[in-house]
Subunit: 406 residues, 2 copies
């Protein structure tokens, strides 16, 4: 992939693992006695890029942030959980702007350098009387080890916090990249939303940063599904402050490839954490499509399989019935010949050339009992591969989503 | 819609309600001691039209029938349940052809006039040693009151048989139209499939018949969803034998409009029966989108709402939370302004202009407790309407689909 020799190492600290980033998480009172407001701040001017929901219903903070990200620069992100500030009309836009203005005032930076993100109940105004004092508190608590506190403050129905970080060594030097996410599917009725925030001390121009983020998200966050729902508030942001030193990556080339792959790795880790934490999920479902005609075909097919309620129920029930799998592949837009398809559960082949073969039911049930179930689909059409992640569909998914308000 | 005065009347008999059609249903031994083979026969040469699954994985009988339907004529349909004859390779094609040849021989008609349809387990060959004798038995039992027996023989996990018929009186004369269907979603692991068979004694040219069926299916079978899965065997066939007398409808005009609307009514009734019988379903969910820019926008939005696991779980749990509904609409490809959308549960308005309003939670829960739940979405964009039908997502859906083979 690249001529540069490099190695990667897991490090601690999440979004504050890279140099020059501070973060904090506080209780502002929106989620009774839980941390519900996070602040992320780069000590130096930074470049930003973002990917946003394709849902036509867009929350006010997302509309505002998307506009500001287009400028390519930004130094702070304020995130509240408990209220999505979606379907809140003009008042919602004013509240979102107010949050960024207060953040800017507390940090003494221009308002345009502040981004905002929200997750929680749709349709109710953000209680600014709680959030605004919370911002001052969060600003006063910013510190270089605040990543985990921030990660804790952005979750809603998540059962675990989601953060990760990597150090990357190349023959040009070293840089770090860290991230946090929230999401367990568009799940709890209005406690929706998948959010991802990534920091890096590599110096990357905003244009190249956007291109790397598009690449990474396409292969990570866009390849997970809990219940097929896209929220009003979904966003992934990446901030690059260049604190690691070195020349800015401003065009394609070896440096860009290294950074892009590292960013993809971080995004994939976060995405898999979200998939594994799918509401009611008892296991992670990984679907790999190999030897597809094109990468897009592979992606379409893999995503259709992790999205299938039938496959998801079968995985919950440990049913190695490959008919549901090939049926889901056939429902996708992928171009392939059904009579060539081989299917495996883990390492046990269950279908060949689109047809029945003898296989060990016992071994298949064993493999379906693992907390990480792998389905492999070999299309025998070309050489492209894609992976999608999801989870099983369980009684608890229905329970959690049926019983929310009653 | 048309200048012709006409009235419609519900009649009994399903697919044998129209003149000149015989049917039967027998036990051939594929589904232990249950009826599992149906035969439908027109006493005179007939025109046919069909709509087939878009899944790229297509069962052998479907491939064969689709080819024969292109000729525009056909007099008999043989349908077996228990085996889908899908993913069965060359042997599957031979078996499908064999079934039509034996049906033709028993009825003394050309093989090309016989269509075949299957539903059941994927990947296992049809046991022809049982099905072929079954065909002879079914042929010997053909009778003009056999519609219900046939409807009984094509179901798999369905909890009820699905048949309906209408008599239509116009100032040009009278005709009848009847239908039967099976399907409770692509549901029981490999007992998949939605099938619909419609008969009419109106005389309709095959070209016009196809055009009317396309119109009807687009507004009926294509507007229902149980779990979003399209099976390898889905098909809807319509046979017109002209036994009611009168001129053949061979072009657009008033007669065509009357026939098209009657066919749409029959298809809609059958489709709603399928939706209501969704696996594990406790209620029928009807989603109506009004005042959309185009009919296509209305359809896309309505279908997205009935397909949303979150909405379906909420309906099961009687949760009047409109955020999930507007979020599903926003996820569709429909063009609309979220800030104009009004949402109703039954007659209780729960959102206005895409935002929160006060409404009676008590009344909403009452309306969500009915066994037919109506969600109305007013886009206030244009004048087009569409309706989609589905069902709630329940513990039993997961249970049925998780526990099938274990």
């Amino acid at each position: 992939m690249t001529g540069i020799i490099y190695k990667t190492k897991d490090i601690k600290g999440g979004i504050t693992a890279p140099e020059g980033f501070l973060a904090s998480g506080v209780k502002c009172g929106c989620k009774n006695n839980k941390q519900d407001l996070a602040l992320l701040y780069s000590q130096t001017p930074s470049n930003v890029a973002g990917v946003f929901t394709k849902n036509k219903v867009k929350a006010a903070p997302l509309v505002l942030t998307r506009k500001r990200v287009k400028n390519g620069t930004g130094r702070a992100v304020v995130i509240n959980s408990g209220h999505a500030n979606a379907c809140t009309g003009e008042r919602g836009m004013e509240d979102a702007r107010y949050m960024t203005a207060e953040t800017a005032r507390n940090l003494n930076i221009p308002e345009m350098q502040v981004l905002v993100s929200s997750t929680g109940v749709i349709g109710k105004p953000v209680p600014t009387e709680k959030v605004i004092p919370g911002i001052a508190k969060a600003a006063s608590k910013l510190n270089s080890n605040g990543g985990t506190d921030a990660a804790q403050s952005i979750i809603t129905t998540d059962t675990t916090i989601k953060e990760t970080a990597l150090s990357i060594e190349t023959n040009q030097g070293c840089f770090n990249i860290g991230g946090m996410a929230k999401g367990s599917g568009m799940i709890h009725p209005n406690m929706a939303t998948m959010l991802g925030f990534i920091t890096t001390d590599a110096a990357v121009s905003s244009h190249v940063l956007q291109s790397a983020l598009d690449y990474a998200v396409e292969r990570s966050f866009n390849m997970i599904t809990i219940d097929g729902v896209t929220s009003t508030n979904d966003m992934v942001l990446v901030i690059s402050n260049g604190a690691a030193g070195g020349n800015e990556i401003a065009s394609e080339g070896d440096d860009f490839e290294v950074f892009k792959q590292a960013l993809t790795e971080i995004c994939t880790r976060l995405a898999v954490m979200v998939a594994r934490d799918g509401e009611g999920a008892t296991k992670l479902l990984e679907v790999k499509v190999t030897n597809a005609r094109t990468e897009n075909d592979a992606r379409l097919a893999a995503r259709e399989v992790t999205s299938s309620d039938l496959v998801k129920s079968a995985v919950f029930g440990k049913d190695a019935n490959w008919g549901r799998i090939i049926c889901a592949v056939g429902q996708s837009e992928a171009v392939f010949d059904p009579e060539k398809v081989d299917i495996y559960i883990g390492d046990e082949q269950v279908a060949r050339d689109g047809g029945q073969i003898d296989f060990s039911e016992e071994r298949a049930v064993e493999l379906l009992s693992l907390d990480h179930v792998l389905i492999l689909i070999d299309m025998k059409e070309g050489s492209s591969t894609a992976v999608s992640w999801g989870c099983d569909l369980t009684y608890d998914y229905v329970k959690i989503n049926a019983d929310y308000r009653t």
